[in-house]
């Protein structure tokens, strides 16, 4: 049997075990619910087009053209009653004169008044709220998924160590097949979840009727996000497996996985806090730990040249390959040390199997 065939068997077992794990199913479903909520709630808060009652029929076409919800009423008193009942937000009387309850309806006033022509030299592509929300959501998605599935890898490695089955496994198949199968399975599951969430996000934004500028900016950002996410995840996955192998029991994971948790946490906060600093964000979009979050944000904000994601992806792929070597060695060196936690240095030095 080849290493590849062995890895495939491991892959199959890991997937089956996870899909039967109630805790895993629960976390995935609750994540979906949170995402759907975070799309639906802003959409529900924005109340849709402003409703107005128009008494002057000549004004109605102008207001309709401006995408207002227009009701034509002939009697001013009836229009005022609609306003008092909350059926409409403003009434336009002939003149034109605007009647409203508490606040002057600025959107309506803008349409009715004559504004001097304005030229914006750097117009935002879309709504400011969305410009803040989308990058945040992308970074969060990347951060949470990476952390959640990374921990799953570490836990699955500790489980094999803690139950001692690992010794039978490495006596049967190469440790690298075990590691590869496990990482491939978790990456596939993490990717499936991210892809599912991305699709929901795209459908959600379409249904929530965000303006087309957002959707057309979001598509390439999400399209790039997926390969960045996969490589970024694989890069950390071996390290998660390594810190899992350093632990002897599930309880040790908290301390052995601290470094890797920081490697996820610090880039996340760096991206969030330095988002408005173009130079910093550019740097972060090349740095392998933060590029899966920062580069899609730059693409979304239209701040990256066409070649940039390719270069950043190349840097990420190279570091992922490097981390694989380091992580695999640590994993290998600590896999059979079941008496308490293993130090990084000991694991690095340990010679293990004779034949690979």
């Amino acid at each position: 049997m080849t290493t590849f065939q062995a890895a495939r068997l491991v892959f199959g077992r890991e997937i089956r075990a996870k899909l039967r794990d109630k805790a895993f199913i629960f976390s995935t479903v609750s994540f979906l619910v949170v995402l759907i909520g975070s799309i639906a709630i802003p959409a529900m808060l924005s109340s849709g087009p402003t409703k107005v009652a128009v008494v002057d029929a000549a004004l109605a076409p102008t207001l309709r053209a401006a995408a207002l919800d227009v009701r034509e009423v002939t009697d001013p008193a009836a229009a005022e009653q609609l306003l008092r009942d909350g059926e409409v937000e403003a009434v336009v009387l002939p003149g034109p004169k605007v009647v409203a309850m508490e606040d002057a309806p600025s959107e309506l006033l803008d349409i009715l008044s004559t504004v001097p022509p304005v030229e914006l030299l750097d117009p935002p592509a879309f709504d400011e709220a969305i410009a803040i929300f989308v990058p945040l959501a992308l970074a969060m998605l990347c951060y949470i998924t990476s952390l959640l599935f990374g921990l799953q890898i570490a836990q699955s490695v500790v489980e094999e160590k803690q139950t001692r089955i690992v010794e039978i496994l490495v006596a049967t198949i190469p440790a690298k097949a075990l590691l590869a199968g496990k990482i491939a399975a978790m990456t596939a599951l993490a990717f499936a979840q991210i892809a599912l969430l991305s699709v929901i996000a795209l459908i959600g934004t379409t249904v929530a009727d965000l303006d087309s500028g957002v959707i057309s900016a979001l598509r390439p950002a999400l399209g790039w996000f997926l390969p960045f996410f996969i490589l970024g995840f694989v890069m950390l996955a071996t390290l998660w497996a390594a810190v899992g192998a350093l632990a002897a029991r599930q309880e040790d994971l908290g301390s052995t996985s601290g470094t890797v948790q920081m490697a996820v946490l610090i880039p996340f906060f760096a991206v969030i806090f330095l988002r408005d600093n173009a130079a910093a964000l550019t740097a972060l979009s090349y740095f392998p730990l933060s590029s899966p979050m920062a580069m899609p944000i730059r693409i979304f904000e239209n701040g990256a040249a066409a070649w940039e994601p390719f270069v950043a992806l190349g840097v990420l792929a190279a570091s992922a390959a490097g981390m694989l070597v380091i992580g695999a060695r640590i994993y290998h060196g600590s896999l059979l040390r079941t008496n308490g936690k293993t130090s990084f240095a000991t694991a690095w030095r340990t010679r293990t199997t004779a034949a690979g």
């Binding site: 489980e159 010794e167 490495v170 004779a354």
Partner: protein, 297 residues
């Protein structure tokens, strides 16, 4: 018969501590080889090196005359000292999975799992997760996991510890079957009586060195003292006055005695026959426990 597994001059240290010093022995197919030693003598380390879980610092382990490859190891079955299976996986799935990791096709793995669980009297628990099984049954599942692919070499680290007497007999019978079918079986134990009863060959290890190795019968002869036991009618007390005799035990009509080098035990027998009937006379062979105590000194 020729040996299949050869361990040659294997050394291994952990840090400053050398746990194996020039360990050499061989295992023959069709025979049960007992690997005996105190805790920390180096049994588990040796077994792990055979299985390729650990590397030797120097020395080689060969299988059918060549260094052991990954493919050879697929034909080995291993039961580590520290038992372990996936707690949440069912017994059946688990054994099938391990069979497949050893290169069996899905259909073969299923068929053999069913047959083996039947043989180990575990068939009706096949659908239960391992964590729901009693310790003894978990142990049987563990043995099934080591045997599912019909290994040519079975390496079992303390296979009988934690087994109840009935399970010991079942497992023993299964191991004998495997040996009869041509498999080489190497197992460690510190239950010396069990090893004595079960093994064809023995390897005794102490402080990382092999102190004795060979067939059980040959070892007993090698380590036999010029010690005899006699049973006569009447009192055997006279025997202490025979030339060359050192009396060790006297219990009425029975006596155990050593002969000094060069002295003739047949003279003692003749003398006894001259005094009356002799019911029994013969050499006293050392038990494994005695040989063990002697060689580990």
């Amino acid at each position: 018969m020729t040996t299949v597994l050869n361990v040659e001059a294997v050394n291994r240290s952990f840090g400053e501590r050398q746990v194996l010093k020039d360990v050499s022995f061989s295992v023959e197919p069709g025979r049960l080889t007992g690997f005996v030693g105190a805790n920390g003598a180096g049994k588990t380390t040796t077994m792990r090196i055979i299985l390729g879980v650990l590397a030797a610092d120097t020395g080689t382990v060969t299988w059918r005359g060549a260094p052991i490859s990954r493919n050879d190891r697929q034909l080995f079955g291993y039961m580590p000292e520290e038992r372990g299976l996936y707690p949440k996986m069912t017994v059946g799935e688990q054994v099938v999975y391990l069979g497949r990791l050893h290169g069996l096709s899905a259909a073969d793995a299923k068929r053999r799992t069913t047959a083996l669980l039947e043989r180990l009297e575990l068939a009706e628990r096949a659908g239960d997760p391992v964590e729901k099984l009693s310790l003894g049954n978990q142990q049987r599942a563990q043995i099934a996991a080591a045997l599912v692919h019909d290994p040519e070499l079975l390496v079992l680290d303390e296979p009988f510890s934690g087994l109840d007497p009935i399970a010991v007999e079942t497992v023993l019978a299964v191991l004998r079957e495997r040996a009869r079918a041509g498999a080489a079986v190497l197992f460690s134990s510190h239950q010396l009586e069990l090893v004595e009863r079960l093994c064809d060959d023995l390897v005794i290890i102490a402080d990382g060195t092999v102190r004795a190795a060979g067939s059980r019968i040959a070892l007993r002869e090698q380590h036999a003292l010029p010690r005899y036991r006699i049973e006569v009618d009447g009192d055997a007390g006279w025997i202490r006055d025979e030339p060359g005799v050192t009396l060790l035990e006297l219990d009425g009509a029975q006596a155990v005695f050593d002969m000094t080098a060069g002295a003739d035990e047949q003279a003692v027998l003749r003398s006894a026959l001259g005094r009356g009937p002799v019911r029994a006379f013969g050499p006293v062979r050392p038990s494994l426990a005695e040989i063990f105590r002697e060689v580990i000194q």
